[in-house]
Protein backbone atom coordinates (compact mmCIF):
# COMPACT_ATOMS: atom_id res chain seq x y z
CA UNK A 1 0.00 0.00 0.00
CA UNK A 2 1.40 3.38 -0.93
CA UNK A 3 1.64 5.73 1.98
CA UNK A 4 1.45 8.90 -0.05
CA UNK A 5 -1.14 10.58 -2.19
CA UNK A 6 0.33 13.15 -4.54
CA UNK A 7 -1.23 15.70 -6.82
CA UNK A 8 -1.86 19.38 -7.22
CA UNK A 9 -4.77 21.52 -6.08
CA UNK A 10 -5.45 22.28 -9.75
CA UNK A 11 -6.66 18.73 -10.11
CA UNK A 12 -8.11 18.08 -6.67
CA UNK A 13 -9.34 20.96 -4.63
CA UNK A 14 -8.67 21.25 -0.90
CA UNK A 15 -12.36 20.58 -0.20
CA UNK A 16 -12.18 17.37 -2.22
CA UNK A 17 -9.14 16.28 -0.25
CA UNK A 18 -10.85 17.04 3.06
CA UNK A 19 -13.86 15.09 1.87
CA UNK A 20 -11.63 12.14 1.06
CA UNK A 21 -9.79 12.30 4.38
CA UNK A 22 -13.08 12.55 6.24
CA UNK A 23 -14.79 9.66 4.45
CA UNK A 24 -11.77 7.38 4.55
CA UNK A 25 -11.09 8.37 8.19
CA UNK A 26 -7.46 8.94 7.40
CA UNK A 27 -4.63 9.71 9.77
CA UNK A 28 -1.71 11.72 8.47
CA UNK A 29 -0.42 15.06 7.24
CA UNK A 30 -1.56 16.96 4.18
CA UNK A 31 1.33 19.17 3.09
CA UNK A 32 1.05 21.92 0.53
CA UNK A 33 4.10 23.17 -1.29
CA UNK A 34 5.24 25.99 -3.43
CA UNK A 35 5.07 24.77 -7.01
CA UNK A 36 8.37 24.57 -8.83
CA UNK A 37 8.16 24.29 -12.59
CA UNK A 38 10.44 21.61 -14.02
CA UNK A 39 10.46 23.27 -17.44
CA UNK A 40 8.83 20.18 -18.88
CA UNK A 41 5.21 19.85 -19.89
CA UNK A 42 2.76 17.21 -18.87
CA UNK A 43 0.00 16.12 -21.16
CA UNK A 44 -3.52 16.13 -19.81
CA UNK A 45 -6.05 13.31 -20.03
CA UNK A 46 -7.47 14.58 -23.29
CA UNK A 47 -4.15 13.72 -24.90
CA UNK A 48 -3.71 17.23 -26.26
CA UNK A 49 -3.69 19.97 -23.67
CA UNK A 50 -0.27 20.67 -22.25
CA UNK A 51 0.48 22.06 -18.83
CA UNK A 52 3.82 22.93 -17.26
CA UNK A 53 4.92 20.19 -14.90
CA UNK A 54 5.11 21.43 -11.34
CA UNK A 55 6.80 19.58 -8.50
CA UNK A 56 6.78 20.30 -4.75
CA UNK A 57 9.25 22.96 -3.60
CA UNK A 58 9.34 24.54 -0.17
CA UNK A 59 6.56 23.54 2.21
CA UNK A 60 3.96 26.28 2.63
CA UNK A 61 1.38 24.69 4.86
CA UNK A 62 0.54 21.52 6.65
CA UNK A 63 -2.67 20.18 8.13
CA UNK A 64 -2.82 17.06 10.21
CA UNK A 65 -5.66 14.60 10.70
CA UNK A 66 -6.36 11.81 13.11
CA UNK A 67 -8.97 9.26 12.07
CA UNK A 68 -10.62 11.72 9.75
CA UNK A 69 -10.64 14.61 12.21
CA UNK A 70 -8.68 17.80 11.71
CA UNK A 71 -6.25 18.15 14.63
CA UNK A 72 -3.56 20.63 13.66
CA UNK A 73 -2.61 23.24 11.06
CA UNK A 74 0.35 25.46 10.39
CA UNK A 75 1.36 27.93 7.73
CA UNK A 76 5.08 28.17 7.10
CA UNK A 77 5.01 31.93 6.63
CA UNK A 78 3.12 32.43 9.88
CA UNK A 79 4.33 32.39 13.44
CA UNK A 80 2.65 29.27 14.77
CA UNK A 81 4.01 29.61 18.31
CA UNK A 82 1.37 29.11 21.01
CA UNK A 83 2.22 32.45 22.63
CA UNK A 84 1.54 34.23 19.35
CA UNK A 85 -1.73 32.40 18.86
CA UNK A 86 -2.89 33.37 22.37
CA UNK A 87 -1.72 36.93 21.93
CA UNK A 88 -3.63 37.24 18.67
CA UNK A 89 -6.72 35.85 20.38
CA UNK A 90 -6.35 38.51 23.10
CA UNK A 91 -5.72 35.92 25.79
CA UNK A 92 -2.30 37.37 26.52
CA UNK A 93 -1.58 41.08 26.73
CA UNK A 94 1.40 42.70 25.05
CA UNK A 95 3.55 42.59 28.12
CA UNK A 96 2.79 38.98 29.00
CA UNK A 97 3.49 38.09 25.41
CA UNK A 98 6.86 39.81 25.40
CA UNK A 99 7.95 38.20 28.63
CA UNK A 100 6.94 34.75 27.49
CA UNK A 101 8.69 35.09 24.18
CA UNK A 102 11.85 36.17 25.96
CA UNK A 103 11.88 33.64 28.77
CA UNK A 104 10.15 30.64 27.29
CA UNK A 105 11.28 30.91 23.69
CA UNK A 106 12.45 27.33 23.51
CA UNK A 107 9.58 25.71 25.41
CA UNK A 108 7.31 23.45 23.41
CA UNK A 109 3.68 24.44 23.10
CA UNK A 110 2.64 21.73 25.51
CA UNK A 111 5.19 22.79 28.13
CA UNK A 112 4.24 26.42 27.68
CA UNK A 113 0.55 25.62 28.01
CA UNK A 114 1.16 23.93 31.35
CA UNK A 115 3.20 26.89 32.54
CA UNK A 116 0.53 29.40 31.54
CA UNK A 117 -2.29 27.43 33.09
CA UNK A 118 -0.35 26.97 36.34
CA UNK A 119 0.47 30.67 36.41
CA UNK A 120 -3.25 31.38 35.96
CA UNK A 121 -2.57 33.45 32.84
CA UNK A 122 -5.02 31.50 30.76
CA UNK A 123 -7.36 28.55 31.16
CA UNK A 124 -7.23 25.28 29.32
CA UNK A 125 -10.42 26.28 27.51
CA UNK A 126 -8.77 29.50 26.35
CA UNK A 127 -5.93 27.52 24.88
CA UNK A 128 -8.14 24.98 23.14
CA UNK A 129 -10.40 27.67 21.69
CA UNK A 130 -7.53 29.82 20.48
CA UNK A 131 -5.81 26.90 18.80
CA UNK A 132 -9.05 25.77 17.22
CA UNK A 133 -9.61 29.28 15.88
CA UNK A 134 -6.07 29.41 14.54
CA UNK A 135 -6.42 26.00 12.89
CA UNK A 136 -9.70 26.89 11.22
CA UNK A 137 -8.37 30.19 9.93
CA UNK A 138 -5.54 28.37 8.23
CA UNK A 139 -7.74 25.69 6.74
CA UNK A 140 -10.23 28.24 5.39
CA UNK A 141 -7.33 30.08 3.86
CA UNK A 142 -6.06 26.87 2.24
CA UNK A 143 -9.45 26.38 0.64
CA UNK A 144 -8.80 29.42 -1.52
CA UNK A 145 -5.53 28.00 -2.83
CA UNK A 146 -5.87 26.64 -6.31
CA UNK A 147 -2.63 25.38 -7.74
CA UNK A 148 -0.15 24.17 -5.12
CA UNK A 149 1.27 20.64 -5.26
CA UNK A 150 0.28 18.48 -2.30
CA UNK A 151 1.41 15.30 -0.63
CA UNK A 152 -0.70 13.44 1.89
CA UNK A 153 1.65 11.46 4.14
CA UNK A 154 -0.25 8.64 5.72
CA UNK A 155 0.45 8.30 9.45
CA UNK A 156 2.55 11.42 9.86
CA UNK A 157 1.67 13.42 12.99
CA UNK A 158 2.44 17.05 13.99
CA UNK A 159 5.89 18.10 15.16
CA UNK A 160 6.61 17.09 18.75
CA UNK A 161 5.18 19.16 21.55
CA UNK A 162 2.38 20.68 19.49
CA UNK A 163 -1.11 20.73 20.92
CA UNK A 164 -3.75 19.02 18.86
CA UNK A 165 -7.43 19.92 19.04
CA UNK A 166 -9.79 17.58 17.18
CA UNK A 167 -12.28 19.29 14.88
CA UNK A 168 -15.00 17.50 12.89
CA UNK A 169 -14.35 17.95 9.18
CA UNK A 170 -17.99 18.05 8.06
CA UNK A 171 -18.51 21.54 9.42
CA UNK A 172 -15.22 22.72 8.04
CA UNK A 173 -16.15 21.45 4.61
CA UNK A 174 -19.57 23.10 4.72
CA UNK A 175 -18.17 26.41 5.92
CA UNK A 176 -15.36 26.23 3.41
CA UNK A 177 -17.73 25.44 0.59
CA UNK A 178 -19.83 28.49 1.45
CA UNK A 179 -16.72 30.60 1.23
CA UNK A 180 -15.82 28.96 -2.06
CA UNK A 181 -19.22 29.93 -3.45
CA UNK A 182 -18.41 33.54 -2.75
CA UNK A 183 -15.20 33.07 -4.68
CA UNK A 184 -17.04 31.33 -7.52
CA UNK A 185 -19.23 34.38 -7.64
CA UNK A 186 -16.08 36.44 -7.99
CA UNK A 187 -14.95 34.26 -10.86
CA UNK A 188 -18.24 35.00 -12.59
CA UNK A 189 -17.92 38.70 -12.06
CA UNK A 190 -14.37 38.67 -13.32
CA UNK A 191 -14.22 35.79 -15.73
CA UNK A 192 -11.35 36.72 -17.95
CA UNK A 193 -7.92 37.06 -16.44
CA UNK A 194 -6.52 37.91 -19.85
CA UNK A 195 -7.96 41.38 -19.49
CA UNK A 196 -5.54 44.11 -18.58
CA UNK A 197 -6.07 46.96 -16.14
CA UNK A 198 -5.66 50.68 -16.43
CA UNK A 199 -6.25 53.67 -14.21
CA UNK A 200 -9.29 55.80 -14.93
CA UNK A 201 -8.77 59.38 -16.09
CA UNK A 202 -8.04 60.93 -12.72
CA UNK A 203 -7.21 58.25 -10.19
CA UNK A 204 -4.69 60.21 -8.15
CA UNK A 205 -7.24 61.69 -5.78
CA UNK A 206 -8.95 58.41 -5.08
CA UNK A 207 -5.73 56.50 -4.62
CA UNK A 208 -4.63 58.90 -1.94
CA UNK A 209 -7.79 58.60 0.08
CA UNK A 210 -8.15 54.84 -0.15
CA UNK A 211 -6.30 52.66 2.31
CA UNK A 212 -4.66 49.91 0.33
CA UNK A 213 -3.11 46.83 1.86
CA UNK A 214 0.34 45.61 0.91
CA UNK A 215 -1.08 43.09 -1.53
CA UNK A 216 -3.27 45.70 -3.20
CA UNK A 217 -0.32 48.03 -3.60
CA UNK A 218 1.68 45.31 -5.23
CA UNK A 219 -1.07 44.77 -7.76
CA UNK A 220 -1.49 48.50 -8.32
CA UNK A 221 2.21 48.83 -9.00
CA UNK A 222 1.89 46.49 -11.98
CA UNK A 223 -1.11 48.17 -13.56
CA UNK A 224 -0.46 48.80 -17.21
CA UNK A 225 -2.66 48.13 -20.25
CA UNK A 226 0.07 45.82 -21.50
CA UNK A 227 -0.05 43.53 -18.46
CA UNK A 228 -2.86 41.01 -18.30
CA UNK A 229 -4.34 40.30 -14.88
CA UNK A 230 -2.87 36.83 -15.17
CA UNK A 231 0.61 38.25 -15.70
CA UNK A 232 0.19 40.53 -12.73
CA UNK A 233 -0.85 37.56 -10.60
CA UNK A 234 2.25 35.75 -11.71
CA UNK A 235 4.50 38.71 -10.96
CA UNK A 236 2.92 39.03 -7.50
CA UNK A 237 2.95 35.29 -6.89
CA UNK A 238 -0.79 35.20 -6.34
CA UNK A 239 -3.32 32.54 -7.12
CA UNK A 240 -6.16 33.29 -9.52
CA UNK A 241 -8.53 33.61 -6.59
CA UNK A 242 -6.28 36.00 -4.72
CA UNK A 243 -5.87 38.30 -7.69
CA UNK A 244 -9.57 38.13 -8.48
CA UNK A 245 -10.44 39.28 -4.98
CA UNK A 246 -8.07 42.19 -5.14
CA UNK A 247 -8.94 43.29 -8.67
CA UNK A 248 -12.62 42.98 -7.87
CA UNK A 249 -12.13 45.27 -4.88
CA UNK A 250 -10.15 47.78 -6.92
CA UNK A 251 -12.78 47.73 -9.67
CA UNK A 252 -15.62 48.29 -7.25
CA UNK A 253 -13.77 51.15 -5.66
CA UNK A 254 -13.44 52.67 -9.13
CA UNK A 255 -9.67 52.68 -8.87
CA UNK A 256 -9.06 50.65 -12.00
CA UNK A 257 -10.79 49.83 -15.25
CA UNK A 258 -10.70 46.68 -17.38
CA UNK A 259 -9.07 46.81 -20.79
CA UNK A 260 -9.93 44.21 -23.43
CA UNK A 261 -7.13 41.82 -24.27
CA UNK A 262 -5.51 42.16 -27.69
CA UNK A 263 -6.07 38.61 -28.86
CA UNK A 264 -9.26 36.63 -29.07
CA UNK A 265 -9.70 33.93 -26.44
CA UNK A 266 -8.85 30.36 -27.44
CA UNK A 267 -11.42 28.46 -29.43
CA UNK A 268 -14.10 26.81 -27.41
CA UNK A 269 -14.81 23.15 -27.86
CA UNK A 270 -17.98 22.40 -29.74
CA UNK A 271 -19.69 19.31 -28.50
CA UNK A 272 -22.03 17.46 -30.71
CA UNK A 273 -25.57 16.68 -29.66
CA UNK A 274 -26.01 13.14 -28.44
CA UNK A 275 -28.24 10.70 -30.24
CA UNK A 276 -29.05 7.42 -28.63
CA UNK A 277 -28.23 4.33 -30.67
CA UNK A 278 -30.52 1.32 -30.73
CA UNK A 279 -29.29 -1.53 -28.63
CA UNK A 280 -30.40 -5.09 -28.94
CA UNK A 281 -29.97 -6.63 -25.52
CA UNK A 282 -27.56 -9.58 -25.47
CA UNK A 283 -28.76 -13.04 -24.56
CA UNK A 284 -27.95 -14.57 -21.23
CA UNK A 285 -26.21 -17.68 -22.65
CA UNK A 286 -23.91 -15.41 -24.61
CA UNK A 287 -22.71 -13.77 -21.42
CA UNK A 288 -22.18 -17.04 -19.56
CA UNK A 289 -20.19 -18.36 -22.50
CA UNK A 290 -18.03 -15.27 -22.41
CA UNK A 291 -17.46 -15.70 -18.70
CA UNK A 292 -16.43 -19.34 -19.05
CA UNK A 293 -14.06 -18.56 -21.86
CA UNK A 294 -12.35 -15.63 -20.17
CA UNK A 295 -11.95 -17.58 -16.94
CA UNK A 296 -10.00 -20.21 -18.86
CA UNK A 297 -7.83 -17.87 -20.86
Amino acid sequence: MPRQLRGTLQDLHTTQLLHLINLAKKTGSLKLFEGVATGKDIIMGDGETKRPEVVPGAERARIVFREGKLVYAQLTERDNHLATILHKANKLNDQQYRVIRERAASATDKALALLLINANYVSQVDIMQSIQQHTLEIVYDLMTWTREPFIFEEGEMPPNGRITVPIELENVIIQGTLRMRELDQLAKELPNLDFALRFPEAPGEKLKKIQLGVEEWRVVSFINPKNSIRQIAKACNMTDMQIRKIVYGLLNAGLVELVKPQEAPSKSQIRRADSKPNITPPQRPVITKLIDRIKNL
Partner: protein, 180 residues
Amino acid sequence: MATTTVKMVITGPYASGKTEFIRSISEIDVVSTEKEVTPDTYEATIKPETTVAMDFGRITIDDELVLYLFGTPGQRRFDFMWEILAEGMLGFVVMVDSTKPETFREAKAILETFRAYAPTPYVVAANKQDMDDAWPAEDLRIALRIEDNVKLLPCVAKDKDKVKAVLLELLYSILEEMDT
Protein backbone atom coordinates in the same frame (compact mmCIF):
# COMPACT_ATOMS: atom_id res chain seq x y z
CA MET B 1 -24.07 -20.86 -38.95
CA ALA B 2 -23.49 -17.14 -38.78
CA THR B 3 -21.06 -15.95 -36.17
CA THR B 4 -22.35 -13.65 -33.48
CA THR B 5 -20.02 -10.84 -32.59
CA VAL B 6 -20.29 -8.86 -29.41
CA LYS B 7 -18.14 -5.99 -28.30
CA MET B 8 -16.91 -4.19 -25.26
CA VAL B 9 -15.34 -0.78 -25.20
CA ILE B 10 -12.21 0.11 -23.25
CA THR B 11 -12.13 3.83 -22.69
CA GLY B 12 -10.29 6.32 -20.51
CA PRO B 13 -7.92 9.28 -20.72
CA TYR B 14 -4.86 9.42 -22.86
CA ALA B 15 -2.11 7.03 -21.73
CA SER B 16 -4.31 5.42 -19.08
CA GLY B 17 -3.46 1.95 -20.37
CA LYS B 18 -6.20 1.05 -22.86
CA THR B 19 -3.86 -0.40 -25.48
CA GLU B 20 -1.92 -2.32 -22.85
CA PHE B 21 -5.13 -3.73 -21.43
CA ILE B 22 -6.37 -5.03 -24.76
CA ARG B 23 -2.93 -6.29 -25.69
CA SER B 24 -2.77 -8.41 -22.54
CA ILE B 25 -5.89 -10.38 -23.33
CA SER B 26 -6.37 -10.32 -27.07
CA GLU B 27 -5.60 -13.46 -29.06
CA ILE B 28 -4.54 -11.40 -32.03
CA ASP B 29 -1.88 -8.75 -31.97
CA VAL B 30 -3.66 -5.59 -31.10
CA VAL B 31 -4.52 -3.89 -34.31
CA SER B 32 -4.02 -0.29 -33.61
CA THR B 33 -3.81 2.37 -36.18
CA GLU B 34 -0.71 3.97 -34.84
CA LYS B 35 0.72 7.03 -36.43
CA GLU B 36 4.41 7.67 -36.30
CA VAL B 37 5.09 10.47 -33.90
CA THR B 38 8.12 12.48 -34.70
CA PRO B 39 10.47 12.63 -31.72
CA ASP B 40 10.28 16.38 -31.43
CA THR B 41 6.57 16.50 -30.67
CA TYR B 42 5.74 16.78 -27.01
CA GLU B 43 3.62 13.67 -27.10
CA ALA B 44 6.70 11.63 -27.69
CA THR B 45 7.93 12.48 -24.22
CA ILE B 46 4.85 10.91 -22.69
CA LYS B 47 4.88 7.65 -24.56
CA PRO B 48 6.71 6.51 -27.64
CA GLU B 49 3.69 5.94 -29.85
CA THR B 50 0.38 7.69 -30.13
CA THR B 51 -2.80 5.92 -31.01
CA VAL B 52 -4.66 8.07 -33.45
CA ALA B 53 -7.39 5.67 -34.37
CA MET B 54 -8.32 2.83 -32.10
CA ASP B 55 -7.21 -0.46 -30.69
CA PHE B 56 -8.92 -3.58 -31.66
CA GLY B 57 -8.60 -6.96 -29.94
CA ARG B 58 -10.37 -10.27 -30.31
CA ILE B 59 -11.31 -13.20 -28.11
CA THR B 60 -12.89 -16.16 -29.90
CA ILE B 61 -15.35 -18.01 -27.72
CA ASP B 62 -16.39 -20.74 -30.15
CA ASP B 63 -17.42 -21.15 -33.76
CA GLU B 64 -20.45 -19.04 -33.20
CA LEU B 65 -19.32 -16.32 -30.88
CA VAL B 66 -16.54 -13.75 -31.00
CA LEU B 67 -15.87 -10.94 -28.55
CA TYR B 68 -14.22 -7.77 -29.80
CA LEU B 69 -12.54 -5.26 -27.58
CA PHE B 70 -12.31 -1.72 -28.82
CA GLY B 71 -10.08 0.90 -27.29
CA THR B 72 -11.18 4.47 -27.78
CA PRO B 73 -8.82 6.85 -29.55
CA GLY B 74 -6.39 8.65 -27.34
CA GLN B 75 -7.13 12.27 -28.03
CA ARG B 76 -10.25 14.27 -27.56
CA ARG B 77 -10.16 15.41 -31.14
CA PHE B 78 -11.17 11.89 -32.12
CA ASP B 79 -14.15 11.75 -29.82
CA PHE B 80 -16.50 11.76 -32.77
CA MET B 81 -15.61 8.06 -32.89
CA TRP B 82 -16.88 7.38 -29.40
CA GLU B 83 -20.52 7.25 -30.20
CA ILE B 84 -19.97 4.91 -33.12
CA LEU B 85 -17.95 2.63 -30.86
CA ALA B 86 -20.54 2.78 -28.11
CA GLU B 87 -23.30 1.59 -30.36
CA GLY B 88 -24.36 -1.94 -29.43
CA MET B 89 -21.64 -2.51 -26.84
CA LEU B 90 -22.26 -5.01 -24.05
CA GLY B 91 -20.56 -2.76 -21.55
CA PHE B 92 -17.48 -0.65 -21.07
CA VAL B 93 -14.40 -0.31 -18.93
CA VAL B 94 -13.13 3.12 -17.90
CA MET B 95 -9.37 2.99 -17.40
CA VAL B 96 -7.86 5.49 -15.00
CA ASP B 97 -4.14 6.06 -14.60
CA SER B 98 -4.03 5.97 -10.79
CA THR B 99 -0.69 7.79 -10.79
CA LYS B 100 -1.92 10.90 -12.63
CA PRO B 101 -4.38 13.06 -10.70
CA GLU B 102 -4.24 15.56 -13.55
CA THR B 103 -6.26 13.07 -15.63
CA PHE B 104 -8.93 12.24 -13.02
CA ARG B 105 -11.30 14.95 -14.16
CA GLU B 106 -11.04 13.83 -17.77
CA ALA B 107 -11.64 10.23 -16.70
CA LYS B 108 -14.84 11.27 -14.98
CA ALA B 109 -15.95 13.30 -17.99
CA ILE B 110 -15.35 10.35 -20.32
CA LEU B 111 -17.25 8.07 -17.97
CA GLU B 112 -20.24 10.42 -17.97
CA THR B 113 -20.17 10.79 -21.74
CA PHE B 114 -20.20 7.04 -22.31
CA ARG B 115 -22.90 6.59 -19.75
CA ALA B 116 -25.02 9.01 -21.71
CA TYR B 117 -24.48 7.09 -24.95
CA ALA B 118 -25.80 3.80 -23.68
CA PRO B 119 -27.32 2.51 -20.44
CA THR B 120 -25.02 -0.50 -20.39
CA PRO B 121 -23.11 -1.68 -17.31
CA TYR B 122 -19.57 -0.47 -16.83
CA VAL B 123 -16.69 -0.82 -14.42
CA VAL B 124 -13.84 1.51 -13.55
CA ALA B 125 -10.30 0.12 -13.56
CA ALA B 126 -7.82 1.88 -11.27
CA ASN B 127 -4.86 1.07 -13.48
CA LYS B 128 -1.09 1.08 -12.84
CA GLN B 129 -1.51 -0.19 -9.30
CA ASP B 130 1.98 -1.68 -9.62
CA MET B 131 3.47 1.80 -9.38
CA ASP B 132 4.59 3.42 -6.12
CA ASP B 133 2.70 6.65 -6.56
CA ALA B 134 -0.60 5.03 -7.54
CA TRP B 135 -3.63 6.30 -5.66
CA PRO B 136 -5.38 3.34 -3.98
CA ALA B 137 -8.65 2.33 -5.64
CA GLU B 138 -10.78 3.34 -2.68
CA ASP B 139 -9.27 6.84 -2.56
CA LEU B 140 -9.85 7.15 -6.28
CA ARG B 141 -13.49 6.30 -5.77
CA ILE B 142 -13.90 9.30 -3.50
CA ALA B 143 -11.75 11.61 -5.59
CA LEU B 144 -13.63 10.74 -8.78
CA ARG B 145 -16.99 10.56 -7.00
CA ILE B 146 -17.78 7.09 -8.27
CA GLU B 147 -20.99 5.80 -6.72
CA ASP B 148 -20.75 2.85 -4.35
CA ASN B 149 -22.74 0.57 -6.63
CA VAL B 150 -20.22 0.95 -9.45
CA LYS B 151 -17.33 -1.51 -9.37
CA LEU B 152 -13.95 0.13 -9.05
CA LEU B 153 -11.25 -2.48 -9.53
CA PRO B 154 -7.52 -2.29 -8.94
CA CYS B 155 -5.78 -3.11 -12.20
CA VAL B 156 -2.39 -3.63 -13.78
CA ALA B 157 -2.97 -3.66 -17.52
CA LYS B 158 0.22 -5.60 -18.18
CA ASP B 159 -0.99 -8.41 -15.95
CA LYS B 160 -3.31 -10.78 -17.81
CA ASP B 161 -4.94 -12.09 -14.64
CA LYS B 162 -5.83 -8.60 -13.49
CA VAL B 163 -7.25 -7.81 -16.92
CA LYS B 164 -9.28 -11.02 -16.85
CA ALA B 165 -10.65 -10.09 -13.43
CA VAL B 166 -11.79 -6.70 -14.69
CA LEU B 167 -13.55 -8.18 -17.72
CA LEU B 168 -15.18 -10.85 -15.58
CA GLU B 169 -16.49 -8.27 -13.13
CA LEU B 170 -17.98 -6.38 -16.05
CA LEU B 171 -19.62 -9.55 -17.34
CA TYR B 172 -21.02 -10.33 -13.88
CA SER B 173 -22.51 -6.85 -13.80
CA ILE B 174 -24.06 -7.46 -17.20
CA LEU B 175 -25.62 -10.69 -15.91
CA GLU B 176 -26.95 -8.94 -12.83
CA GLU B 177 -28.44 -6.25 -15.00
CA MET B 178 -30.30 -8.93 -16.97
CA ASP B 179 -31.75 -10.34 -13.78
CA THR B 180 -33.36 -7.06 -12.82
